[in-house]
Symmetry: C2
Subunit: 204 residues, 2 copies
Amino acid sequence: MVDPLPEANPRRPAGRRKGDSGSKDAVLDAARDLFAELGFEGASMRAIAARAGVDPALIRHFFGDKDGLFVATMENRTQIPDRIAAALAGPPDSLGERAANTYLGLWEDPETQPILLSLVRSAMTSDKAAQLLVEAIAGRVYGASVSDAGELAKIRGMALAGSHLFGLAVARHIFHIPVLDEMTHDELVALVAPVIQQYLTHLE
Amino acid sequence: MVDPLPEANPRRPAGRRKGDSGSKDAVLDAARDLFAELGFEGASMRAIAARAGVDPALIRHFFGDKDGLFVATMENRTQIPDRIAAALAGPPDSLGERAANTYLGLWEDPETQPILLSLVRSAMTSDKAAQLLVEAIAGRVYGASVSDAGELAKIRGMALAGSHLFGLAVARHIFHIPVLDEMTHDELVALVAPVIQQYLTHLE
């Protein structure tokens, strides 16, 4: 068998240093961990660089400032805005089921759950972090699914659906409310999908 | 005019030291502030006593251990479990409206909002704090409104309604999602009451 990814990868863009993606991953891991441990305000770029074993200048080169790094931990590692936008883009009849399944699924996934925890804890203790998250998600999600951004009822419906699913995920995965903890993912999706559908399609 | 509360208050129970209620208030204020600043694990009984200007032994005398103090900051200052139980006890037709109005009202009230913030931030960062909150609320709320505690559908409905309202309050008051932030309390209650009603009465 031929190695599908030979060492001299012809698709690597010119000008990127070998090892960049390893350093990026190390920075994103360190950012996720330190935002979770110390919150958005408490985690300094210096501390994140030290944890990742890189120079702070490299973080600025990759992600700009701390705001950019925070948004990148969400976008690069969970693709939350993209996945939600994709779920909202399909046929309208199963919109509620797709939205609930996609969002709650991100909290079930052992890859994405620690990142969601880190983001939520940061946003609970920092107005700036909350604002960055809201803008990153709203910009992507509204843009993809509301043709006329002035349609207040649709945006309200999305905000109600989103906050409902968020509260449910926290109640299940952080507060461990027994009756929610005990349900399977599919049972939970089946229970909330009609309400999410209602908010996303029937709100006036 | 006669002072309605003369210094020698005849209603003061025998055996209580003068100043007890002032010390209790100071301890509950200090607990609320330190749980908010340092989280449940980070706030020590010693630090709370120092902030309140009392001896740690007095806190143990009033509230037992740190668990008891944490639950007391919720119960004594917000009466959340009692108020929610009362809202659930009225006529079934307006159940969703009363539950939404009562719960979201606690987050609007400048007296109770800082305590809710402190409790939620503690519960987001400590499994123990989350467990104490869930037990205190569930014990009081289920006991008052579910005749047969085994009725799984009713308890599920309450957990879904509660987590929906919780997510909405966080999205509005902590994340400041613009479209939710801009609505009046009454508009928001009117939008979610039908869904809360559905969860509390029609879930199968």
